[in-house]
């Protein structure tokens, strides 16, 4: 029994951290977020693919690394720490969904190679509530409108969820940009009236949803870890009333709570990942609980980070708002906190 990463896993973490430090220093990440209309950088995307990251979960015969959820969590924690923009998790999940549907063709290979971008189109309404009209698949055509489709404008194909089947739709799409305050992830609204190929039953999503929960909560963990780190550095150096502000007990106690939340998220995320990899009986509970907890915790920690920075924390220049906005956005996607609480209860038989 061991909670620490294995040697290979630790190596993956270190190499990912090094890779992102050189490819995606925060200045570069922010430049792409603020100035690249696509929301990510194509040549950097190719290098990410060449390093094997996009094919992380795919079997080797389709160009993948055949790794598991723990490795996914390791990489996405680093992605979160670096606040790397782009459709990384989306592409990984789309590839996993295709693989789960038994596809081993050029499409999957091309995703892993970074040549083709596929993301999953899920939301049937732009807001929460019962007013959604599901997209339908009949007679080899898919019709309806999908909202908050990740990187829809850049995608070559979409995996569209319908109550009838999961289906694959090729571009071109009519995409209306849905612009949120999170510049690391771009969304589009896509009107569908397209020929489509069924690739499998909606139940294939179950496992992909677990991977999504692990991936998103690992990203949230990375975000909050880094925001806490930045804050710990700041409170050691920033002085007020002739003392470092980190010496004030009221802040110390809140920093202790931030660390507690961060480390508890870490426990939950890696436990969930381990459950997925070992097909443990409490996998569904562990994944949903990790995402639900991570969303709350990350928003709180990143928010406290801004507060403790005072005025400077409210400036565009400082990076903290990028973390805070990402955290709030991820809370809403890949199964919102509310949805994950419901998943937890359902999986626990409540």
């Amino acid at each position: 029994m061991k909670f620490e990463l294995s040697e290979d896993q630790a190596l993956l973490r270190n190499s990912t951290r090094d890779f992102l430090a050189s490819e995606w220093p925060i200045e570069q990440a922010r430049k792409v977020m603020e100035h690249d209309p696509r929301g990510y950088d194509l040549s950097a995307w190719k290098r990410l693919a060449d390093m094997g990251y996009i094919g992380l979960l795919l079997p080797p015969n389709v160009g993948g690394q055949g790794l598991g959820a723990i490795e996914l969590a390791i990489v996405l924690e680093e992605v979160g720490r670096a606040a790397m923009p782009g459709p990384f998790l989306d592409a990984v999940l789309a590839a996993a969904l295709l693989a789960a549907a038994g596809r081993q063709d050029a499409l999957v290979n091309d995703i892993a190679a970074g040549k083709t971008l596929v993301t999953i189109a899920r939301d049937d309404a732009p807001f929460c509530g019962g007013n959604a009209t599901p997209t339908r698949f009949t007679g080899n055509r898919v019709g309806g409108t999908k909202y908050f489709v990740p990187f829809a404008a850049a995608a070559d194909a979409l995996l569209v969820t319908t109550p009838d089947a999961l289906c694959l739709v090729q571009k071109p799409f009519e995409v209306i940009a849905l612009t949120t305050f999170d510049l690391a992830q771009r969304f589009g609204e896509v009107k569908l009236d397209h020929a489509a190929t069924a690739i499998g039953s909606p139940s294939l999503l179950d496992r992909v949803d677990q991977l999504a929960a692990v991936g998103a909560s690992a990203t949230l963990l990375g975000l909050m870890s880094r925001a806490l780190e930045i804050t710990l550095e700041y409170v050691q150096t920033r002085t007020a009333f002739k003392r470092p502000i980190g010496s004030f007990q009221a802040l110390q106690h809140r920093l202790a709570d931030m660390l507690l939340k961060t480390e508890s998220t870490r426990s939950a995320v890696y436990r969930a990942a381990w459950c997925v990899d070992t097909d443990a009986p409490d996998t569904a509970i562990a994944c949903a609980a990790a995402k639900a907890y991570a969303g709350d915790a990350s928003r709180l920690v990143c928010g406290e980070a801004i507060q403790m920075h005072g005025g400077i924390g409210f400036t565009w220049e400082l990076d903290l708002h990028v973390y805070f906005k990402r955290a709030k956005t991820l809370e809403q996607h890949y199964g919102s906190t509310e949805a994950q609480i419901e998943h937890t209860l359902a999986a626990a038989g409540f």
Binding site: F127, T239, G303, H333
Partner: protein
Amino acid sequence: MDLRLTEQHLKFRDELRAWLQANLARPWREELRDPKHTEDSLIQLRRDWQRKLYTAGYLGMDWPQEWGGRGATEVEKSIFEEESALADAPLIPNFLGIGLLGPALIHHGSEAQRRRFIPPMLAADEIWCQGFSEPGAGSDLAALRTSAKLDGDHFVINGQKIWTTLGPWADWIFVLARTDSGDRYGGISFILCKLDTPGITVRRLRQITGESEFGEVFFEDARVPRENLVGQIGEGWRIAMTVLAYERGAMSLAYAARYERDIRQLAIACREHGRGGTAVREKLGRLFVENEVMRANGLRNLANFADGNKPGPESSFEKIFWSEFDKRFRDVALDLLGPGGLLERSSAEARADVDWAREFLWARAGTIYSGSSEIQRNIISKRVLNLPQV
């Protein structure tokens, strides 16, 4: 106990309400989402609005008659704020000039200074920004290091000010500067500087909302006439502390009016999106309840003002209450709305009722500016609870 407005105050309120209805073309939230507007045109609109208010006699109401005063008190000012919030009128650009500098000039300035500065300030002909905070002096304001050295009949000013609201549009800045580096409080003076003085540079400071209402102001050997000193050399800290108490009037009623409108909009949004259930209802209800308590606090403060009390350290309660509530409220709102709540105002599908995403981000500032929640709690523990300080 009597929480009813007097006949005289009711009359004031009704006249103001009628005036607002007649004079306010559109609610501010509609201006904000009109694509024709730029940051500059919005400021111009606020400038025009201030001019109208001044002409109608609604500014400086509690000042001496010669400066526009009409014998009003905190009560009329609070009614003004509440009615402006209800009508969703723009915030006047010179709110800090009128809120802080005006009282400073009236109580501590020279007659010449009052004649020179007050009329254009009220008429929005000159926009003022506030130069108190510095990169190294925020919560601990007395740590400020911007220096003013007397050289003949000029001060030579060096240093940097930050969080100067409306700095990029302002004509003048009122500055706290250090005239004696050895005396923490007694070495600070209160000086007025024209922003086009050689050696003064204003830089925009972008906020996490993407807007740039704030600025930074840099002083490099800027020479400012000695006559622009308010009060005596070394009186700056005392003047600033006196007027800062004015900044925090009875704002709770105005805030409660604004929050109630937004809570009601949130409920409408939930209905429109088919979002029901007891969980949604309980969240809306808790927000509404807390907002009612804010309103009760506001009524109490208003009644205390009407009863002749001055704002005391209890104003810290008001600041903590609304700013901490705002954070929670805006967060719950996004959770109820779902992903669409995070949309930029200009995006497709964004709701037209309230700029939920911007309000969520903006709420992070409320617990920081004008004395952070931490500073307010320090004030309460020290001055209200008299807890031992070590």
